[in-house]
């Protein structure tokens, strides 16, 4: 699904990301962890053609990402609040995304009905613009919007941050359910090790721009990771 080849990105002479090779097959649920400045958001931005690599290329589904459009049909993402349109209501935002992905309003409504609990009655039907919602609720809107249009690749940057504990658990079950079909590729970054271990088949550890660990999740993974970060220089 995702093929990363010789990717190097540097800012002001300092290399912030250097990945010689990374392959994420279809249907895999991948967790990306690392300390601050490790390069997680840079990697996502490169994946979505928001920034240009200094060298190397990234392919999604066999198509090069750079200045190409075909991957957009099958990819959804939510990186931060800059992905939201502040002057729309939540419903309008969902319908807008739906229109862009060829999903009509009633289908969007059906999807939103499925995730009603996730919103906890604070987002839908409130007649409030997105800019007037709390940060956490805005995040919820962004996360659910990635589920519209039956995407094959979903990219979420630190979705658990800013969510209250109950919502975090609901999000975990949503992601696990999506991953269970083995049809969607899901890449999630997080600072919460236990959540990541819970939802991912495979965990990538980034440190200062380099992939230092690439492990298949098992029962001992959480303990291993915790020990690892405990002794790591931040």
């Amino acid at each position: 699904m995702i093929n990363i080849n010789q990717i190097v990105k540097a800012y002001h002479g300092q290399v912030v990301l250097n990945i010689p090779a990374l392959h994420i097959p279809r249907g895999e649920s991948v967790g990306l962890v690392g300390n601050n400045g490790a390069g997680k958001t840079t990697l996502f931005s490169l994946l979505l053609d928001l920034i240009v690599p200094d060298s190397g290329e990234i392919k999604i589904d066999g198509q090069v990402v750079f200045s190409n459009d075909s991957w957009k049909k099958i990819t959804t993402s939510f990186l931060d609040e800059s992905f939201l349109i502040s002057y729309l209501t939540a419903e309008e935002y969902f319908y807008f995304i739906g229109k862009l992905r060829g999903v009509n309003e009633s289908e969007v409504d059906r999807l939103l009905e499925m995730y009603k609990d996730f919103f906890n009655d604070e987002v839908l039907g409130k007649k409030k613009y997105l800019r007037d919602l709390s940060k956490g609720n805005q995040k919820k809107v962004g996360i659910i919007s990635t589920l519209i249009g039956d995407p094959q690749l979903i990219i979420l940057d630190e979705p658990f941050a800013n969510l209250d504990p109950s919502t975090q658990f609901r999000l975990k079950s949503i992601i696990k359910e999506l991953a269970s079909t083995r049809e969607k590729t899901i890449v999630v970054s997080s600072h919460d090790l236990s959540h990541t271990v819970d939802i991912s088949d495979r965990i990538l550890v980034l440190q200062k721009g380099v992939l230092i660990q690439d492990i298949q999740t098992s029962a001992e993974t959480l303990v291993e990771l915790e020990a690892f970060f405990n002794q790591l220089d931040a």
Partner: protein, 493 residues
Amino acid sequence: MIKELLTLEWKAFFRSASLGKNIAVKVFLGIMAIYFLSIFLLVGIGLYSSLQNYFPDTEPIYIVNKFLLYWLLVELVFRFIVQNIPIINVKPLLVQQISRSKIVHYVLVKSCFSFYNSIILFMGIPFIWISISKNSLTPFQFFSWLIALFFSVLFIQFLSFIVQRWFASNLKAMIIFLFVIAGIYLLEYLDVFSLATLTGRFFDSVLLYPWLALVPIFLSFMVYSVNHKQILAYFYVDAYLKEKQTDYKASDLTWTNRFGALAPFLQLDLKLIWRNKRSKSTIYLGLLFLLYGLIFYPNETYQQSTILVFVGIFITGIFMINFGQFIPAWDSTYYSMLMVQNIPMRLYLEAKVLLMVMSICILTILSSAYVYFGWNIFLINISCALYNLGVNIPIILFFGSYNKKRIDLNASSMMNYQGMGIAQWIVGIPILLIPMIIWGVTKMFTDEMVASSVLGILGIVGLVLRKPIMAAVTDQYLYKKHKTIAGFKEVQS
């Protein structure tokens, strides 16, 4: 403390994403400033003798005093359009050990050193100098007159800030304000009550009783403190929230569905314009500037003149200019999201084009009332509209691809008012000058009808070539995509 704040601004300027453009703009503005200052200087020098020629019986300064109110009104309007409310990005400083009051003082005092305040000095000082040598009144009396005038100008400057803030939070207030001004003018016209004569007499008295200069000084301190109080009140992060949280107003935009694939973008743009103060004012300005023609059309001297083309392009294209030059910056806060969606750049741009086309058509229809002043004016306006449709829209779009400055739609008044400084009007120069030159030169060799037709034909050619032109503009936007994304991420300070 002041040094710290000045250093911050210096760094912000030189480290911004649009530094190159900023420097070029500043250099250009600098050259224009020198040019205009020299003109004002010459006016100041020549004013005494020319007034003596026209009014041999009266001392020139008394003539000047009669017209001072009009000068002050011009200053008010000019400052309102051109001078930004002083701003500073306050959030990072709020929790630091800097007194908030001091920061506001810093910002306000800095505005006193504005270039625009030097204009009155460049004109006034030479005038005073000559007056002193030719008159029996003491230099002290003349200088107190100058001080009174200078502080009146400062008063006007701070007043314009208050008015700008007032309008920013309440657009309809503009209409009230205009009525008030019209009312005062009417009173003047009908000789019922003349504010101008009153102001004139006040300044005459300043010459006799120099201590009267304290009045404008006192007035300017008053508006200064009002400004200080207003700005300080907004010195909180949730200042925006204090304004009423606007309720969701459902709007029926189903008529846009006739535009097929463009419909979702069109709806989004319409919501953008209607639900955000900054963009909403482009509509009101557009309607307001429809009246611009009234300044020129009735005047005989302007008939046949190239300025009519300026007016034509301006009136039919004011929305195009105000809205178009900030494309795609209107969407800057969520530009990244648009770029990762399956949206062909072509469609995105075409929706914007459609909006501008509709605005030109509406404004042209509304301005057809000007046919009252003559068929030639109507014809000029039509050809300017065509030129706008076919030529200026792609030009504005093309320049827009270089936009890297973020626009925060949520930011309303006060600390984050990204006003229309002079730099914003620079884009208007090629838009307005080129057709004027084309028309003027053509008219020299032929006549008015042919000149207007040339503009119109150029517009039609542009419309016919729309497809290839848009393809080229789209490529340009795609080429600039990553730079644009990076620039928009930078929150303005």
